[in-house]
């Protein structure tokens, strides 16, 4: 609810980040529907993501920072890629777009108990903080990535094919 209000306020303020998707088509973090294996069929924005933007989200420390835990061969110019999770090369051979979206929104729906953070989830945390300040959150949390950023990452991961 709060998030919808925020998004509405943001589009009123004319923030371009939302692109052409009208907020009515956005699925809020608390409204996401998961399939039986944790997949999420519906695009969160109602439109395809931008793979180039997705690549930026993967590598950027203050965005997805996915390379903290995953090696991504296609982004080899990013130094210090971690190896806690599997290499993402060939991810699109293993997973459909809906499955990749589900892994991003809340990976625990796909991999029980996984270490991978949920990128589009705003509640159910213990002692949530205000980002990396160490202080208590000062209001409702924002998801780690926006709906649009999730779709951008899904679009990028969908290009990672070995076969």
């Amino acid at each position: 609810m709060k998030t919808i209000n925020k998004i509405a306020a943001a589009s009123v303020a004319g923030v371009i980040a939302l692109g052409s998707a009208s907020w009515a088509e956005m699925i809020a973090p608390t409204d996401v529907k998961f399939g039986e294996y944790g997949e999420v069929e519906m695009s969160l924005t109602g439109k395809p993501g931008n793979p180039e933007q997705g690549a930026v989200v993967l590598g950027n420390r203050s965005l997805g920072n996915c390379v903290a835990c995953h090696v991504v061969g296609a982004l080899a110019d990013i130094p210090f890629q971690g190896d806690i999770g599997p290499a993402l090369d060939g991810a699109a051979d293993r997973w459909s777009a809906a499955e990749l979206r589900g892994i991003l929104v809340n990976s625990k729906m796909t991999f029980e108990g996984t270490m991978m953070p949920a990128y589009y989830k705003i509640d159910g945390f213990t002692r949530p903080g205000n980002a990396y300040t160490g202080k208590a959150a000062d209001g409702p949390l924002d998801p780690l990535l926006s709906a649009e950023q999730i779709e951008d990452v899904v679009a990028f991961l969908s290009t990672l094919k070995d076969e």
Binding site: A68, D77, P79, D83, A118, G129, Y132, G134
Partner: protein, 282 residues
């Protein structure tokens, strides 16, 4: 292999870290005389989770490791010197220094290895810093030092330095048990928006790389730790605070009852490892 496509410069930067993607097999001999235990069988109370406990030293680069081998190279020893000076400095209304009651620092050999420790009179588990502050306030009539402040850490380092090589040996049973249980609970609780616990990083993932960091078991036997990153000695509670903050959580504060309990629990996971403080890490 995965990194074949790395640019030359990145490959050069990565080389030293990846050479030791696992804990290495080096042996630590301090000042060419003291053989240190840096790997040992896990104590019974963590045997369900780990076979072996290992010092964080094994996860650092050869250069960083070398700095700890000789007191002349160890940048933490300057702070030990400062702590030794304070040891002999008279302060407070009672006209006493630490050495007025305890003689020289060597008399403290072995003490560091048993802390945090139950204090019967106070009815609580105390860290070394809490004990030092108790001496200051109740015996010297001096002010307590702020938790993990420079002066407090220097004293902790001096106390630790004379226990180097002795095995960590904190008691977890008897009256300390409930505090230990509380620490264990905190260790396994996933916190923050990233929903990570101490165990997700230091039990399930040690030996792996999280971005540029080589994850160790997060042992406390090396504390206080001289970090190249901030060029000073760091207390265990400050390290805990940083780690909790990195889960995007609201942290606890140094000296809080939660961190006292966590220190006891984490120290107990390293029972058997040699005391190393002041150690050197990146």
């Amino acid at each position: 292999m995965k990194f074949r496509a790395m640019t030359a410069i990145a490959a050069v930067m990565l080389a030293p870290t990846f050479a030791l993607a696992e804990a290495d097999d080096d042996t630590m001999v301090l000042n060419e005389e003291t053989e240190m235990v840096t790997k040992t069988a896990a104590p019974a109370h963590v045997a369900d989770a780990l076979d072996q406990v290992m010092s964080g030293w094994h996860f650092r680069s050869d250069e960083t490791q070398a700095m700890q081998l000789d007191d002349f190279d160890n940048p933490g020893m300057v702070f030990v010197e400062a702590g030794l000076e304070t040891w002999d400095t008279v302060e407070g209304s009672e006209d006493k220094s630490c050495s007025s009651c305890h003689n020289d620092m060597d008399s403290m050999a072995g003490v560091r290895a048993t802390y945090p420790k139950w204090n019967e009179a106070a009815g609580e588990v105390r860290t070394l810093q809490m004990q030092v502050n108790d001496c200051r306030t109740s015996r010297m009539g001096a002010e307590a030092w702020k938790y993990d402040s420079g002066t407090a850490i220097n004293m902790e380092a001096a106390l630790s330095s004379v226990s180097r090589g002795l095995p960590v040996n904190v008691a977890i049973d008897g009256p300390a048990q409930s505090t230990w249980e509380m620490g264990k609970e905190l260790y396994y609780t996933r916190t923050g928006q990233l929903d990570l616990s101490c165990a997700t990083c230091h039990e399930d993932s040690y030996g792996m790389m999280i971005r540029a960091d080589h994850l160790s078991q997060g042992q406390t036997n090396g504390f206080p730790v001289y970090r190249l990153k901030n060029a000073k000695l760091n207390g265990a509670h400050s390290r805990f605070k940083g780690c909790v903050r990195d889960t995007r959580a609201e942290t606890y504060n140094p000296g809080s009852k939660e961190f006292v309990a966590l220190e006891l629990y984490v120290a107990s996971r390293g029972n058997g490892l040699s005391v190393e403080g002041p150690s050197v890490r990146n």
